[in-house]
């Protein structure tokens, strides 16, 4: 089991009322699974990804990545785990505006052994998302969809075991969306685990054996009909 959530609970106080962003979520993910989590806006999807990735600490419950509980380890170990095991695709723009596309993509590698081939790897991934010629450009010179694809490329650069993707195809046109989902499928077939949250109920159909969940007011329920 690569990801395991036990009774995961997180609430936020918003104007005197408690919002249950995650409500006793239990989830087990095996290596190579492709999870799709559907849910309306505000249902807690981003919160769940953030809890899994060790970015938000839960009020109650635990998250285990490869059997290690996220919040039982030091800041350093947690950071190293994020850096080496997880690729995160943000829901919103997440490029650093003052760095070039190439520099943005290489950011997660800043602390690795930085093999000489990392630039080639970055170019290869840029090519896979259809932006081979944009390495020297800056984020402001790219469209929203192109920036999204750069962020996707960045999440793959450190060859993570797990990709946590928050609405990854939200602002892509149909053809680009198809390319990206095909890319996901290729990586998934090579063993990368995916947890993808989306409004798009057709997404699951593009993947092999996707497990589909739905989320409502922080409650995760199994295989949607």
């Amino acid at each position: 089991m690569i990801i395991e959530c036990k009774n995961l609970t997180k609430s936020y106080a918003v104007e005197n009322t408690m919002v249950h962003a995650a409500d006793t979520v239990n989830l087990s993910v095996n290596k190579g699974d492709f999870l799709v989590i559907l849910g309306h806006s505000g249902s807690g999807k981003t919160t769940l990804l953030s809890l899994i990735g060790g970015l938000t600490s839960p009020d109650k419950g635990q998250v285990f990545i490869d059997g290690v509980e996220n919040w039982q380890q030091s800041d350093r170990a947690l950071s190293t785990m994020r850096n080496s095991k997880i690729g995160f695709i943000f829901q919103f723009a997440s490029l650093i505006p003052t760095l070039s596309i190439m520099e943005n993509i290489l950011l997660p590698l800043s602390f690795g052994e930085n093999p000489a081939g990392s630039r080639d790897l970055a170019l290869d991934i840029l090519d896979q998302v259809g932006l081979a010629d944009k390495g020297k450009a800056f984020p402001s010179q790219l469209s929203g969809g192109q920036q999204r694809r750069v962020a996707i490329a960045r999440s793959f650069i450190n060859c993570p075991d797990i990709i946590l993707a928050d609405e990854p195809t939200g602002d892509l046109d149909e053809e680009t969306e198809r390319d990206i989902l095909a890319l996901f499928r290729r990586y998934n077939e090579q063993g990368t685990t995916f947890v993808v949250v989306t409004h798009n109920s057709d997404l699951a159909a593009t993947q092999k054996d996707a497990r589909v969940f739905s989320m409502r007011q922080g409650v995760l329920s199994g295989q949607a009909a």
């Binding site: 981003t46 080496s84 760095l99 052994e113």
Partner: protein, 398 residues
């Protein structure tokens, strides 16, 4: 593990350099202000140090005790005969009469200091030879021959000619021949000085025979200066007895006041610099918060982000130190500290030629670093701790 860690630090350094470059206008302005502050502090330090060195040189030539006759609170000529009345005091090595005064050159609007004494009579008068750039010190019998300071050489154009004339009080002219010139190293004392024989000075100022302006008393044992001064006061009431330690104190008061004034100016500059450093380098703008959050999501630790800030600060302050110190050295050595001239020396017409030999005491360098680099590092790195409070998930939302 070690090489991996090194690799990581190099990557962080690389990131720090590129983020400095990204904000190059901001970085450059901080660097310039920083370098300017260090430049001021270091120049100031070198100048005061050089002046202090000079002052102690001057004092080395000052007689241990100087006697002046006072009347109605003002100095007047002292009879040479007083010399004999000191003969009974044990411990006095020698008493040398001296006539010294100022000469105002109405043509060049400059003040000269005239010193008439028979140099060979001074216990260490021979040592004065070493203070000469060229020529010799004239003997007492060589009438009309003088040794002049560097600014006199310049003001009176003595490179090209050998003689000059000064007016006596009755406006008749007295002509002098240059026998030697003091070297630049003794400028603080000799810059505007004309040294001549006692007889020539008497002639120039029309001082009657048997009178001089002061008597220089040299003692055998410096420890007895105080005792001997008291004895002289008792024997010669109405005579002002100045001791070397008193003169030393006066110097220190003057330098202390001047450097105190300078210090206040520098403190003001320093304070505004710290505020600027704080303002420029510390604030976490929304963009910076976002950047920190993104970096955290990508697996950077808080300590890595702090390390970036630290390297940025070290690079900026290191460059500023090199630039500031070098500029200060050039300023003091090649431009004779012209920025500080008015504060430190007063606006004498003659002073601008003063040649300073800068000295940088290691302790003072460290002090300057402590006053600049440390506050800057603190002002940049400590607020970066705030990045620790930026939640990693804050970039996830909109």
């Amino acid at each position: 593990m070690a090489p991996r860690n090194l690799e990581k630090q190099l990557n962080i350094l690389d990131y720090a350099l590129s983020s400095l470059w990204r904000r190059r206008m901001k970085s450059l302005s901080v660097l310039l202000v920083f370098a300017a502050v260090i430049f001021l502090l270091a120049s100031f330090q070198m100048v005061t140090q050089a002046l202090t060195d000079k002052a102690s040189q001057v004092l080395a030539y000052t007689p241990e005790i100087t006697l002046q006759k006072m009347s109605a609170g003002r100095q007047e000529a002292i009879p040479l005969a007083y010399r004999d009345r000191l003969a009974g005091i044990f411990g006095i090595r020698r008493v040398v009469p001296r006539i010294w005064g100022y000469y105002f050159d109405e043509v060049r609007l400059a003040n000269y200091t005239v010193m008439g004494m028979d140099v060979r009579e001074m216990p260490e008068g021979d040592r004065l030879d070493t203070a000469l750039a060229k020529g010799t010190i004239p003997g007492p019998e060589e009438q009309g021959r003088v040794v002049v300071g560097q600014s006199i050489v310049k003001a009176l154009n003595l490179d090209e000619r050998n003689t000059f004339s000064l007016f006596r009080p009755d406006l008749s002219l007295k002509t002098f021949t240059v026998s030697g010139a003091f070297s630049r190293d003794t400028d603080i004392m000799t810059n505007d000085l004309i040294v001549m024989s006692l007889a020539d000075a008497r002639d120039l100022y029309e001082i009657p025979a048997g009178l001089v302006t002061d008597l220089c008393v040299y003692v055998a044992n410096p420890k007895e200066i105080g005792t001997i001064a008291r004895k002289i006061s008792a024997i010669l009431p109405g005579v002002r007895v100045l001791t070397r330690p008193q003169i030393q104190k006066t110097y220190q008061v003057v330098f202390g006041w001047r450097s105190g004034f300078g210090s206040i100016c520098l403190l003001a500059a320093l304070a505004s610099f710290v505020i600027l450093a704080w303002d420029k380098a510390s604030g976490l703008s929304p963009e910076e918060r976002r950047e920190i959050s993104i970096l955290k999501v990508l697996g950077w630790e808080t300590s890595d982000i702090l390390a970036v800030r630290f390297w940025e600060s070290v690079i900026v302050s290191g460059l500023a130190c090199i630039v500031g110190m070098t500029a200060a050295y050039i300023h003091v050595v090649y431009f004779a500290a012209f920025l500080f001239r008015p504060v430190l020396m007063g606006w004498s017409v003659l002073r601008p030629d003063l040649h300073l030999v800068p000295r940088m005491a290691v302790g003072n360098i460290l002090l300057i670093l402590a006053f600049t680099v440390v506050p800057y590092l603190a002002a940049t790195v400590i607020p970066a701790w705030r990045s620790a409070t930026v939640p990693a998930d804050s970039a996830l939302g909109g």
